[in-house]
């Protein structure tokens, strides 16, 4: 296990788009994080079933998508490209299907490279099937085996970058989130998720080594993006979602402690914290992912991005053409702007504009402000265990919000202010030790999770 005891990027001016300390080279000659931001295009099926009978139709969709996005990439003369193939449940459930589609996409990318010389790489995101059981077994059982074999087969079939949106600890986090139980949130992320990430990423790393793939990274999508969605719909306080984001960083960092080297996953909005700590390149999504979900982070998300993604869009027709092709165009133009700024030494100015334009509107954006990111990153590396790191991240995030409130840098509704007080109280009542915290989880959420699944 790799320990990050000090942060790689400590100057906030260096936490910037297109530049990482340890660029990653993969696929067809694509180097990520070395001075350019590339589009990472994502897509999914329209309304249809995936069964043995429909597999030919499924493949036809992926072929059509590839034709369209590569056509647009060529016309717009993009400098490089990552394509993400994010699997849907049946594609990992029958891992051969996932592998066949991986092969199909990879072939198209190889042909495209020969024809155009445009560097590219394929990220395959295997589906984490392991939460189908109640409580999830995670390390054992058929769902776990299939998930791992999904990685194996896709690596073999040509995946350049491996990723997953893993779910360990989510069964508890979901509950804690709904009750706004910050202690439960901290313990589920800092202990359960953190432990599962270690186990899972050791496995992924060894598969990646075997086939020469890149270990991209994971995302707290099921955790803090769920919180963000719920806050966006008025169901949770925004400050809780903001703090949940910070709390999820140690969990996502665990992938890197266990072999990941980036580019991290697009929907991991905790990416900048990971980048500050590790120096590895990250993928981010913002306004360009309006097709997949709404968010208060449209511009600020780009601040430190090395890849710029649209998260996902169905293969349906818009007026211009298919939706994947349309979003390919959007990403290409955003990246042109980022790269022109980098090239002309204006990246910092552009970054600051993007940051400032969102921070004044949202407490969730505040957490991604480069100086706040660096404070949280520092707090995390100073602590030993996953639980300690998570508590430190929460405290730092809370303090940043508190200070910004006093400075009138941001403003919150009275309902949210009430929650600030509640959160302050909860923080001061956090269990001191990991053992106590586990006891708390067992008392409150014992029926939802199995200790063995986490090696506890």
């Amino acid at each position: 296990m790799k320990k990050f005891t000090k942060i790689a990027i400590s100057n906030e001016e260096d936490l910037i788009m297109g530049k990482s300390l340890f660029p990653v080279t993969c696929g067809n000659n694509l180097t990520i994080g070395a001075g350019k931001v590339y589009p990472e295009i994502n897509f999914t099926l329209p309304t249809m079933m995936i069964t043995k009978e429909t597999i030919p139709e499924v493949k036809k969709h992926y072929s059509e998508i590839m034709d369209n996005i590569l056509n647009r990439s060529k016309i717009l003369n993009i400098p490089g490209l990552v394509v993400e193939f994010e699997q849907l449940p049946p594609m990992t459930d029958v891992p051969e299907w996932g592998a066949e589609i991986t092969e199909l996409i990879k072939k198209e990318l190889d042909k495209f490279y020969v024809e155009t010389g445009i560097p590219n790489a394929l990220r395959v995101t295997v589906l984490d099937l392991r939460d189908a059981d109640h409580p999830p077994l995670l390390r054992t059982g058929i769902a776990s085996e299939k998930t791992i074999s999904g990685f194996e087969l896709c690596a073999q079939a040509g995946a350049d970058i491996l990723s997953i949106e893993s779910v360990g600890g989510k069964e508890v986090h979901d509950q804690a989130l709904m009750y706004g139980d910050l202690h439960g949130i901290a313990a589920s992320l800092g202990i359960l998720s953190y432990r599962d990430m270690g186990w899972l990423w050791d496995n992924i790393t060894s598969i990646a080594k075997k086939y020469g793939c890149i270990t991209g990274g994971d995302t707290a999508c099921g955790f803090s993006n769920t919180a963000m969605q719920l806050a966006g719909q008025g169901m949770l306080p925004n400050i809780l979602a903001a703090i949940d984001r910070a709390a999820s960083a140690p969990r996502s960092l665990a992938a890197f402690e266990h072999g990941a080297i980036g580019p991290s996953k697009d929907c991991a909005y905790e990416g900048p914290i990971i980048k500050a700590i590790t120096g590895y390149p990250i993928s981010m999504e913002g306004k360009s992912s309006c097709c997949a979900h709404f968010s208060p982070l449209g511009n600020i998300a780009a601040a430190a991005a090395d890849l710029w993604s649209n998260e996902s869009v169905q293969n349906i027709r818009l007026l211009s053409g298919t939706a994947p092709e349309a979003f390919m165009e959007l990403l290409a133009y955003d990246c042109r702007l980022f790269n022109k700024a980098i090239e002309s030494n204006n990246a910092l100015e552009l970054r600051n504009l993007m940051v400032e334009s969102d921070v004044e509107h949202s407490v969730e954006a505040l957490i991604l402000e480069p100086n706040v990111v660096i404070e949280i990153a520092k707090a995390i590396v100073n602590k030993e265990s996953g639980y300690e790191k998570t508590k430190a991240a929460i405290e730092t995030a809370y303090n940043s919000i508190d200070v910004s409130l006093s400075n009138n840098k941001i403003s919150l509704s009275n309902t949210e202010i009430e929650w600030m007080k509640k959160i302050e109280e909860e923080i001061s009542a956090f269990s001191k030790t990991e053992e106590e915290a586990v006891e708390y989880l067992e008392m409150m959420y014992g029926t939802f999770f199995s200790s063995q699944a986490y090696g506890l």
Binding site: M49, P89, M178, Y179, M235, L236, N414, T415
Partner: protein
């Protein structure tokens, strides 16, 4: 209203379960729903009065606040917890004729789909609205819905799906249900859906907003 009942209503609304519960902060160290309900019974206030003029008033208030954007899901859940603590004491009084429920509602996320946050919220709102909710969880096959319907023949059915590739399971399930019981009303929800989709698969309605849905249901019966 009696001062005690007023205070109890506040405990429900604010989610103050009992003396020990640390939240809300400003009520720390004070008695909660648990103690106050016990006291009300000791004071010989009739159970119906406690329920209708205090507990329900508190729940209603937090529900209204939620609709106005002045409360969140956790506030409602914690209020429900306080309510439960109070109900423990009232239960005996409703022994035979328990509070009448509006009806049965079977809910689940369709086969192949594990997204359940939306579905859980719908369940909560339905429960709060006085429905007896049978939650089949996630990844629920058509047969399971049908089998459950046999147990609760007058139930309404609600399905949730978040994936474009599981939406079509709703059609399969709706057909299976309507085959055994054409009169059963089937409702669908989930981010990628639309009324048009509901029409296409032969379901009885699409609702993006659980509160509006519950209102609609109440009028439908």
């Amino acid at each position: 209203m009696n001062e005690l009942l007023e205070q109890l209503a506040i405990c429900i609304e604010r989610g103050k379960v009992n003396l020990q519960s640390p939240f809300p902060v400003d009520l720390k160290g004070q008695e909660g729903a648990d103690e106050l309900t016990k006291r009300a019974i000791e004071n010989s206030i009739p159970a119906e009065v406690i329920l209708n003029e205090s507990l329900m008033v508190g729940m209603q208030k937090v529900g209204d606040k939620f609709e106005e954007g002045k409360a969140f899901i956790p506030d409602m859940l914690i209020a429900a917890k306080a309510m439960n603590a109070a109900m423990v004491h009232l239960k005996p009084f409703f022994e035979s004729g328990e509070v009448e429920l509006k009806g049965d509602f079977i809910i689940g996320t369709v086969a192949g789909d594990l997204h359940d946050i939306g579905k859980n919220i719908v369940r909560m709102v339905l429960t709060g609205g006085g429905w007896n909710v049978i939650d089949l969880g996630t990844d629920v096959k058509a047969e399971k819905f049908v089998a459950t319907l046999k147990e609760y023949p007058n139930a309404f059915i609600g399905m949730s799906a978040l994936l474009t590739t599981t939406m079509m399971q709703m059609e399969v399930t709706t057909k299976a249900i309507k085959e055994v019981s054409p009169a059963t009303k089937v409702f669908v929800g989930g981010a990628p859906l639309s009324q048009e989709f509901s029409d296409r698969i032969g379901a009885d309605g699409y609702f993006p907003d659980p509160n509006k849905f519950v209102k609609y249901l109440s009028q439908a019966i």
